[in-house]
Amino acid sequence: MKLITHNMLTSKILKNVVTGYPLKIHAVKAELKKADFQPDFIARMIKKIDYKTLYQAAETLGYAEGMPKTEILNEEDMNNEETLKKLHEVLLEIEVIEGDLECPETGRKFPINNGIPNMLVNEEEL
């Protein structure tokens, strides 16, 4: 699971959960996997994602150094090549391989095995 994907996941499907976002990451194993740097793509995506969640996730995994410490990125950050490179690493290169995602409201855990988060829930949990 890459952090771009984590940025979109919620546990809102669970009964009585109001926001279910962001899911807390507990990583047992994470690694860096190189991907091609596409500055235009990062600049486009950064407007669509929740930066605060991305920052927190990177911090949890020990990769926040070099990221602008803010809630919302400004124009200057989005035009800075170094910042975009860092965001590229955080969004697309960090992979959580083993661990789990925890619902912030109920504590329900969604396991991540072999890099794949399992978001399935039982009928009774809906």
């Binding site: 771009i4 596409q38 988060p117």
Partner: protein, 228 residues
């Protein structure tokens, strides 16, 4: 990338060892997948530098085929642990340079509440998929009353993607899908008509009949686009 070259790369993909009939895990052949990806790229330019998603990714045939045309980011969703394990293995094998992520989720569950996936919506440009044809009974009650599994997949894809949805459907459902597309404010076009091999199943014990002659069914390769 030439069409033949792509098809031969895709021969390397490991497919289902024990396909689950209730999930309609039919194999998308390298021949079919290469033609689909090739056409989407050459005719519509809907893959390069786009965000892609696939519902019912299975062992990854279509997403890997599309990866040869360099999407920015791809997400594959499937309900089945075994399919996803093979898919992950295939992704590792191909050492793709474009980022691909997988999640295990149920399209039927995603559709229950729009808030489940609103963060995903419109992040994606294009969906390329080969959903269940809906020959097995997997209906659910949604806000939009009863929908067959094939239409549920189309519905979620249409809500995820801001641009186009490419999908394979039985030709007999064409007129019905056209009506649905209209309701969703989308335009449907038939890109091409294909023949799809469906393995023959014993109706009593639901097992595959070995060595039985496969049944060819008429399938439409559809493109649905949002009307702005």
């Amino acid at each position: 990338m030439k069409l033949k070259e792509l098809e031969s790369h895709l021969q390397e993909i490991e497919t289902f060892t024990d396909p689950k009939l209730y999930l309609e895990q039919y194999i998308t052949t390298p021949h079919l997948a290469s033609q689909i990806a090739f056409n989407i790229d050459k005719i519509y330019d809907d893959i390069h530098s786009k965000n892609l998603c696939e519902f019912g990714i299975g062992t990854g045939m279509l997403t890997i085929a599309c990866s040869f045309f360099e999407p920015s980011y791809s997400l594959g969703v499937d309900i089945d642990t075994d399919a996803l394990a093979i898919c992950q293995k295939n992704l590792d094998y191909f050492e793709l340079e474009n980022p691909v992520d997988l999640i295990q989720a149920d399209v039927k569950q995603l559709l229950l509440k729009k808030e489940n996936y609103e963060k995903f919506s419109n992040l994606f440009d294009t969906c390329v998929m080969n959903p269940p044809f809906g020959t097995k009974n997997q209906r659910i009650e949604t806000e939009e009353k009863q929908l067959g599994i094939d239409i549920q997949f189309l519905k979620i894809a249409s809500e995820f993607c801001s641009n186009s949805v490419y999908s394979l459907h039985k030709s007999v459902t064409r007129e019905y899908i056209k009506i649905k597309a209209k309701q969703w404010n989308m335009k449907m076009e038939v890109v091409s008509e294909l023949k799809y091999n469906i393995p023959k199943v014993d109706s009593r014990n639901k097992k595959l009949i070995k060595d039985a002659k496969e049944k060819d069914i008429a399938v439409d390769f559809l493109r649905l686009t949002h009307i702005i």
